[in-house]
Each structure stands twice: as structure tokens, then as C-alpha cells.
Symmetry: C2
Subunit: 451 residues, 2 copies
Amino acid sequence: MSAPRRPGEAAAGGLLTDLYQLTMAAAYLADGNHAPATFELWARRLGGRRNFLVAAGLEEALRRLEALRFDEDALARLGSLGRFRPEFLGFLRDLRFTGEVWAMPEGTIAFAGEPLLRVTAPIIEAQLAETFLLNAIGFHTLIASQAARVTLAARGRAWVEFGARRAHGADAARAAARSAYLAGAAATSLVAAGLEFGIPVGGTMAHSYILSHPSEREAFLAFARACPTDPVLLIDTFDTVAGARIAAEAARELAAEGIEVAGVRLDSGDLGDLAGRVRRLLDEAGLPGIRILVSGGLDEDGVAALVASGAPIDGFGVGTRLVTGGEEPSLDAVYKLVQTAAGPRMKTSTGKATLPGVKQVHRVEEAGRIVGDTVALAGEPGVEGWPLLHQVMAEGRRLDPPETLEAARERCRAGLASLSERLRSREGGAAAPVRLSPGLGALAGRMAVGD
Amino acid sequence: MSAPRRPGEAAAGGLLTDLYQLTMAAAYLADGNHAPATFELWARRLGGRRNFLVAAGLEEALRRLEALRFDEDALARLGSLGRFRPEFLGFLRDLRFTGEVWAMPEGTIAFAGEPLLRVTAPIIEAQLAETFLLNAIGFHTLIASQAARVTLAARGRAWVEFGARRAHGADAARAAARSAYLAGAAATSLVAAGLEFGIPVGGTMAHSYILSHPSEREAFLAFARACPTDPVLLIDTFDTVAGARIAAEAARELAAEGIEVAGVRLDSGDLGDLAGRVRRLLDEAGLPGIRILVSGGLDEDGVAALVASGAPIDGFGVGTRLVTGGEEPSLDAVYKLVQTAAGPRMKTSTGKATLPGVKQVHRVEEAGRIVGDTVALAGEPGVEGWPLLHQVMAEGRRLDPPETLEAARERCRAGLASLSERLRSREGGAAAPVRLSPGLGALAGRMAVGD
């Protein structure tokens, strides 16, 4: 706690933006353009072997919109760049986000091409938000989507997010812990995230702890006596099977003192084979209640392979390959202008074309399974399914108090249950169950040919 | 500026740690173990196609060590977990980092297996620092190392870091901008980072700006008139060559008003081919001074290919694939106990063994080129070369004021110039010029066989 505020921390408001957002804002101001514009944020591709996304980051996004402002220090520093006129800096002094936001609630299953969030605001406000909205929604959604893959791979076994040390900074570590829990992790190792977001915290011990004692036995006994709440003993510092034998002896000694060893952790070697040998050893020692946890470079493939092998593993620690985003460490998310006061807008750049107009996404389920989504124009009549984008902000204010993380987690759980086997596949390649509505298709067609 | 302090922001001090660091600390306290221990931080592998690392993140690491504390709110929240005894919480109340730190200065070229940082402190303090030190040094070093690859690929042409929107949160965006500049980027697009670290900021305009105007011509004119400092016009919203023609006309019109268009940006399509066509068009229009900047999914390979093609490109924007770490989005860095009061320590886990003892890295150069490094025991006599690890903290205090980012940048520039052609290769696979000293080799050999 109580880290002093860092030199740049205050900059997380209006200055957390690309320079061009500010130069464009200055140009809009010079033009007197304060007309509302609508921008939408979506993933162009799912990336990696993903078949679906789990929308996340909305709380962070709304918090940043509420914090969009420039204080005197920020204005002075911006002025020092010598690029901006005093009128513009004066305008920024009074700037607040006053627009409306529609979004998929956190934990919603989503696909490429579907808006996750839509902002309608005076164009300067909407433009200035681009960088930090993409930054928040993109990263949280990336990690929640990867975490959902781990949850599916674990097939009901518990897994814990362990990745703080390899996350891209302190923010990333906290956000990754939150997104992992949202998408099914049982706990996080990161104390700050646990306390901030109300996520269960878990952890075992490090090899350094073992190495700082004369023997594994002494390390195990000292640790469990000092921390008797569900201690988990790390048994692979030297030789895993020998470590398991020593752990079993320590567990019996501790049981006599009223301390129950909860588990052992394996962090190296052939985890499936070792888990089997350790399980037999513990069972023969009369310790069937001691759980076996494994970690070490695991991702959804590693978890799935261990589950498929039938190895007697009770829980997984997943770190680096989750919190950094896995095989594709960013979401190809964009935030694009789709409508101005002059009407729908469309970009036709090679390979980067956009769909025009303000949109809504409709979902149809049958027997609890997603049948298909339709991306339609907002208000377009006759589109089947219920809307996935909900209004969450009006005139710069939230319409409802922040949703609990548990509610988002439950939405994700239900969403994962609604995926077909094809969409659940870890191998990717499933066709997205998404189509355009007649109204949107017709508009895009007209605009693409220069109507 | 003036983002309200976030709920978890204060947690960036002592709570930015894995739970097991705290349970181990509680166990050390129960044991009365306050003896000094030495931990070293290094990369086990370089990862990806890297042949070298650029050490970075030391400033952040030292700042976090100085901020290591637990205030009353943190203690109350920790207490709410029901895991920790009052004696331990009382101990944390007074805890400060009191140890010493040796490290490679930022910008130093490094290789796998070489300690980048070494901490000697009472074991509880050193252990509690593990998570946040790995988090800081690992990420900054990852990005600086990737940025150096881009710098080498650009062969003297300018490149700008553009990745804030795809970075893993706000911290990551700022840190990536800093590490990119450290390793040779000319500027960043992220205003917060530019103002915080004194990095030049750069940027152009977005497609949304073009789309919010009736035509490209009107957008170009309005922008340059409002922001006449080196305006760069984005010309690929509809058709790049047509956009270049319109930009040329606008540039002549603006020149008559005394506004000089600095450049045009291409963000899609075949960048090398289009750059050639745009260059010819601009030259024929009598505008040889307008620079051509390109962006769009570029990484070091894309930059190298464009440079090799001879395309008339003056500068590159590099974003996503830099700030997320490229093909391997984390550094395989570890922080391991190497010495306690009882002597050198060594872990022999399968595939994850460590080298025992307190170490120093020595470098030999000949004719300005790195010949080889030797990892030796600290104080080992007769080792050739100058030491790379310098003491930066004693008794928890910095020995010197923070180094300027420019000094680290110059060190990196000189370091890149000292790499052989083999080590500079983008393809990886060069043998690391690192060996163990006789003293270290002998100690490790004795301990591996259980001496």
C-alpha cells in the first residue's frame, strides 16, 4: 500500500492518449465541430486459435471516461509542447465526457465484427477516448478470452491465476487477475488484485523457501506451523518423488499437531507421470486428502493434455501464457467512426474496410445454445433475437452502479455453457455464427460503391 | 491528468506481490530468520529469435523497492484474509526495504544466464520484492530488447512507437514508450509518456478525422490550418494514390498560406509499392520535401523488408507487435535465491537448475566489439573484463540520483554498435558469448553432485 503517487500516474486521465487525438481535437475545435459522432469498438479478427471472445474491461473503460479531464498541470505540460493554441488548452480545461455509451456487459460471449462498445458524443470527446478505451477493452477482453479457454480445458477442475510476475506491469497484473476470475479461475496469487476485486487469493511456497532451510523436511514443518491455513508444500526442489515422501512424513507429524496439509505442488518435470507417482505414494501413506497441484509453463493445451491423460491432478496454476495473452498477445480491436451528423460513415482502405452506421447485435439461442448473432442497424425492425448492447452511460453518467464481478463471472459461466462443441474447440477454425442484417448489408453495399 | 486515485492504486506498494511471498515471510518471521540472503534476477532463455537483451526497468524496480511498505489500510485488508497473525501484521507495519542492490545500468546489452540485478537483504524483504521486481525488469527488458531489433532493422531511418492502444494497460503503454525510446525509437505517440519521460511525441491523424469531413481535401486543409506544426496527412482512407494527389494539391494550397506539410502517412496496402508511387507523385508535384511515413502491423521484419526493398520511406510507425513483446510476449526471467548465511544455494529441479553463489558479470571488448562475457563469483580473482553489475542501492537507499533516460539511451546505442554481425542478426540462433568462470563452474559442479 501507500506507494507514493508516481510522476506520471496523474496522467492516466486526459493525457493517456495518442498525440493525434489531441491534434485532431484541436482541428475539430477550430472547425467549430461539436456535433455528435458515433464510434464503435470491435475485434477485426479473433486471433490465435480463438473461436469466441469474452467481453471484459467495461468497468475500467467507464472509469476512464469518468476520469477524462485535464488539470492545470496537464495543461501546462501540454502547452510546453508548443503545438497547441491557448483557446484549445482553455477548451480542454472544461472538457468532460458528456456522451452516451452502449456496451456488452462483461462476461458476454462475443465474436469478431460485433461491436463490444459504442460511444456517441461530441466528436472531440469521442475521439479523445479512443486510445484508452481500446487499451482497456482490448486487454481485458484478450485475457478473459484466454482464461475461458483454460476454464474449458480444465473441465471442472480448479485453476489459479499465477502470472503477476510476467504480466506487463502492475496494471496488467491486476487486470489479468480480474479477467481470469471473471472467466472461471478459482483464485489469483496476486494479493493486490484479490483485495481490490474480492477475488480469492491462493498460493503455496517458492523454491527459495526450501533452499533457505537445511532440508525439505525442516522447510515443510516450519512453513505449515507458521501458516497453518491450508498449507501446500512444494515438492520438486530436488527430486519430486523423494520430496513427496518427505511431505507425507511431515504431513503425518503436522496432523498430530492439528495442522492439516492441504496439498503438494509440482512445478517441473513430467507433471502427469509425477502426479500419478505422488498420488500413489500419498494414498499408500494414508493421505488421500492431500491434493496435487501442478504448475510450470501451463497453458490451455497443457491443462487439456493433463486432464485427458487422466492424471490425478486436483488443480492447475496458470501464469505467463495466460496473462500475456497466449499465442497472440493482443486483440486486433479497433474503434472506428461509423456515423456523424452527416450520416453513416465507412472506410474502404484495403483490408481494413469498416461497416457504416450505428449498430446493435442480436443473439438467438435455442435450447440454451447460441444459434447465431445478427449485426444490425440500431433500431432496424424485424431482427430476431435479443440485443447484446445495453446502454450503460447517458450524458457522461453511468445509468447503474457498477456490476459486481461475481455477476459478470456468472454471465460468462452461462455463456460458456451456451457454446456449441465446435465453438468450444481449442483448435479454432469454427465459423463465426454471425451475419449482417438486411438493413446493414444494404447500407454497406450502397456506400461501398460510392453511393 | 487528475484521474482520481483508483481503488487498487495504493496497492502498488507491498500488496503488489504473490500471496506466497507473504506466507513465506510469515514463516521466516516465525523462525526468527532475519539473516541476509542474496537473490539474483536473470533470463533463463532469450526467447523468440533474440540474440541479446537490452537491460531496462531498473528505475521502476528501484522505485518499487523504495515504495515497499504496508499502510494501515493494507494491513487491515490483509488481516481480513484471516491467514496472518497479529505479530506478522505488526512486523509488516514497520517493514522497509533496507538491503543492497547491484544491477546492470539500463541500456546495457545482456545475455541469457547473466544476472541483470542482484538483491542482498534480510530474507523477508528480498523475498517480498520478487513479484514486483520480476514484473518491472521483465517487461521493460522485453520491450527494450524488441525495440532494439526494430532499431537495427531500420538501419538509421526514424521509427516512432505507436502502440498505446494495444499495450496491456496504462502502465504497460507508458513503460513500452519509455523502453522503445531507450532502445532507439525517435518518438512516442503516447502523450502521457512523452511528458512524463521527456520523450519527443509524434503523431498524424486518424481515418475517423478524414471520414468526419465531406472530403479528404477539406480534412487535410482543416487539419493543417488548425495544427500547422509539421502536419502529416493520412492518405489511405479511400485510395492511397488518389489520396496522395489530393494531399499534394492541399500542400501547395497550404504552402501559399505559409504552412508546410511535413509528411504523408500510409497505413494499409502494399506499403513499399505504394511508397514508391506516392514518392514519384510528390516529386513530380514539386514536393520532394514531404516525407513518407508508413505504419500498419509493422514489426522488425516488416521494417527490414521495406528497408531492403529500397522503398522511399522516411519513417516507420511500430505499435502492437512491439509493445506486446512480439513473437514471445514475456521474458523468461527468474529471481532465485543463490546465497544465504549458510552459504551458496542451488536448485536442481529438472530443467530449472540454478547456479549457486553471489555473482558478477565481466565483459571483454576488442576494437569496440563484444568478445565475450564471463559470469563469475563476486570477488573471484583473475577474471578478465570489466564488471557489468554496479551497486545502485545500499541500506535501502539509492547511491546516486536516477540516471537520465538519455544516458541509458546512449548506452544502448553504443551497446548495439558493439554487437557482432552475428549477434545483430534478426534470425536468432547466435551462440551467446557467455561462459562461466573457473570458480563458479567448480562451485556448481561440487553442489550438483551433493557436496
